[in-house]
C-alpha cells in the first residue's frame, strides 16, 4: 500500500473531527504551501464513494455524513425530525428558489400574510438568514438560505434544487423588484 501524503491525512482528520461542515478555506489554511485543499478533498470524496460514510460538499464546506441509503439501518439513532408546517415549508421553498427575497415578496407570492413565528422557525433552524436589503422604498431586508440548509437537505449547492419548469424564466415578481 502506498503511503498517503501527509496533507491528505490532515485534511481527512480535520473534516472527520468535526460534526459540522468545515470551510474549504479553513482547510486550505492548515495546509503547507503547494497542497491544494480542493484537489485533496475531491480525491477523498472518491475514496469514500460507495462506503458507509461519505464526504459531502456543500457551498465550499465539507463534511462526512453517513450514506443516505443506510437510513433504515441506522434507525436506532436519535432522530431529530423537524416538523415543518405547510406554510413554513412553502416559505422555505420560496426563499430557496427566489433568493434573495423580501418578506413582502413572499407574501405576494402566497397571497397571504406571514405570521411572525413562521419565519422565526426557519431562522431558529439555521436555514435562512437575512442578507442585505432591497434597494426599494423602505429598504426591506432580503432573505437567503444558509449552508446549514443545504447540509440538512443533502444538497451540494442551490443548483441541486429540483428544477421547476414553472419557475424557469418566469418573472415571479412584478417590476417592483429592482436589483
Amino acid at each position: 500500500m502506498n503511503e498517503i501524503a501527509p496533507s491528505k491525512l490532515i485534511v481527512e482528520a480535520l473534516v472527520f473531527a468535526s460534526s459540522e461542515p468545515v470551510l474549504e478555506a479553513e482547510i486550505q489554511a492548515s495546509l503547507a504551501d503547494g497542497a491544494i485543499a480542493r484537489d485533496i478533498l475531491e480525491e477523498l470524496q472518491r475514496d469514500y464513494a460507495g462506503r458507509g460514510v461519505r464526504l459531502e460538499c456543500c457551498n465550499k464546506c465539507w463534511a462526512f455524513r453517513t450514506a443516505p441509503e443506510l437510513a433504515t439501518a441506522l434507525r436506532k439513532f436519535d432522530r431529530r425530525p423537524r416538523r415543518l408546517t405547510r406554510a413554513a415549508l412553502e416559505m422555505l421553498a420560496i426563499i430557496a428558489y427566489q433568493q434573495p427575497v423580501t418578506r413582502a415578496e413572499i407574501e405576494a407570492l402566497r397571497g397571504v400574510s406571514i405570521s411572525r413565528g413562521t419565519l422565526d422557525n426557519l431562522v431558529d433552524a439555521g436555514w435562512v438568514i437575512p442578507r442585505g436589503r432591497r434597494d426599494t422604498p423602505g429598504q426591506p431586508v432580503t432573505w437567503v438560505t444558509t449552508t446549514a440548509f443545504l447540509d440538512h437537505f443533502g444538497l451540494a449547492s442551490l443548483d441541486d434544487l429540483p428544477r421547476l419548469d414553472e419557475l424557469e424564466g418566469a418573472a415571479l415578481f412584478k417590476p417592483s423588484v429592482a436589483r
Binding site: 455524513r65 421553498a93 407570492l109 402566497r110 397571504v112 440538512h152 443533502g154 434544487l161
Partner: protein
C-alpha cells in the same frame, strides 16, 4: 341523522393559508390541469365553497370575502361577450391568476420535493463523537482610530467619575450671626456691621463666611423691624443701628 348531515358539510377553512391556497387546493382536488386551468370553473367552485361556509355561519376572514367578490366580478366579465365588458382584458386578468396559481403550485411541489431529500439527523447522520481541534486565531485585528479615541475618552471619563470627599469646612452660620447681632447691638448708635464679626476667625474663608452671615442676619433683622441698615455709597461701610 342531523350530525351526519352536518359532518358532510364541514368546511375547514382553518387548514388554508389564505384564498390563493384554497383556490389551489380546489384546483388540485378537482384534478384540474393547472396548465389548462379554467378560472371560470374555479371561480364557481370557490364561490360555492364560500357560500357553503357562510351557510354554516363560519366566520370568514376578510381576505376570502375580498377574493370572492373579485372572482364574482371576474366571472361576470368573462361570461359577457367582449363588446359589453367594462374591462376589455378579463381574459388576461384570469390568465394572470392562473399563472399565479401555477407558480404557487410549483413552489409547493418544490417544498414537497425538499422533504423527499435525505435529511440530516433523519436519513444522514453526522459524526457522533466530534473531536475538538485547536483553533489558531490569526485574523487581522480590526479597529479604527475613532474606537481608540472613544476608549481613551472612556478611561478619562471613568477617572473623573471618582467620588471626592471634601472635609466639611467650619463656616460661620446665619444663626450665629443673628444671635451675635441681637446681643451686641443693644444700645449702640450707628456702627459698622463688620464690628460684630466673631472674635476668633480661623482663616480667610471663615472670615468671608462671617461677613456674608452678618449681612444676611442684618437684612433679616431689618426686615423684622428690629434694626436700621444703611450704606452711604457703593462699597462703603454698611452701618447698622438698633431700633
Amino acid at each position: 341523522m342531523e350530525d351526519q348531515v352536518e359532518a358532510r358539510f364541514v368546511v375547514d377553512l382553518e387548514g388554508f393559508e389564505g384564498p390563493l391556497d384554497l383556490l389551489l387546493e380546489l384546483a388540485r382536488t378537482h384534478k384540474v390541469d393547472l396548465a389548462r386551468i379554467s378560472i371560470l370553473d374555479l371561480a364557481e367552485q370557490f364561490l360555492a365553497y364560500l357560500k357553503n361556509a357562510q351557510q354554516l355561519e363560519l366566520r370568514l376572514a376578510s381576505e376570502y370575502l375580498v377574493m370572492a367578490a373579485w372572482l364574482a366580478y371576474l366571472k361576470s366579465q368573462l361570461l359577457l361577450p367582449p363588446l359589453e365588458r367594462d374591462e376589455p382584458d378579463a381574459e388576461a386578468v384570469a390568465e394572470e391568476l392562473a399563472a399565479r396559481l401555477r407558480r404557487l403550485d410549483a413552489l409547493r411541489r418544490a417544498g414537497e420535493a425538499l422533504l423527499e431529500q435525505p435529511k440530516l439527523h433523519e436519513d444522514r447522520f453526522v459524526r457522533g463523537a466530534p473531536e475538538a481541534v485547536p483553533v489558531v486565531r490569526h485574523g487581522e485585528i480590526r479597529v479604527d482610530l475613532a474606537e481608540l479615541l472613544r476608549a481613551y475618552a472612556r478611561v478619562v471619563t471613568a477617572r473623573s467619575d471618582v467620588t471626592v470627599y471634601l472635609p466639611p469646612r467650619k463656616l460661620d452660620s446665619v444663626e450665629a450671626a443673628l444671635a451675635r447681632l441681637s446681643l451686641q447691638l443693644a444700645n449702640q448708635d450707628w456702627s459698622d456691621l463688620l464690628r460684630y464679626l466673631p472674635e476668633i476667625l480661623r482663616d480667610d474663608v471663615h472670615r468671608r463666611s462671617a461677613i456674608a452671615s452678618n449681612f444676611v442676619a442684618g437684612l433679616e433683622l431689618a426686615r423684622q423691624g428690629r434694626l436700621e441698615i444703611r450704606q452711604d455709597n457703593p462699597f462703603g461701610p454698611i452701618m447698622v443701628r438698633q431700633l
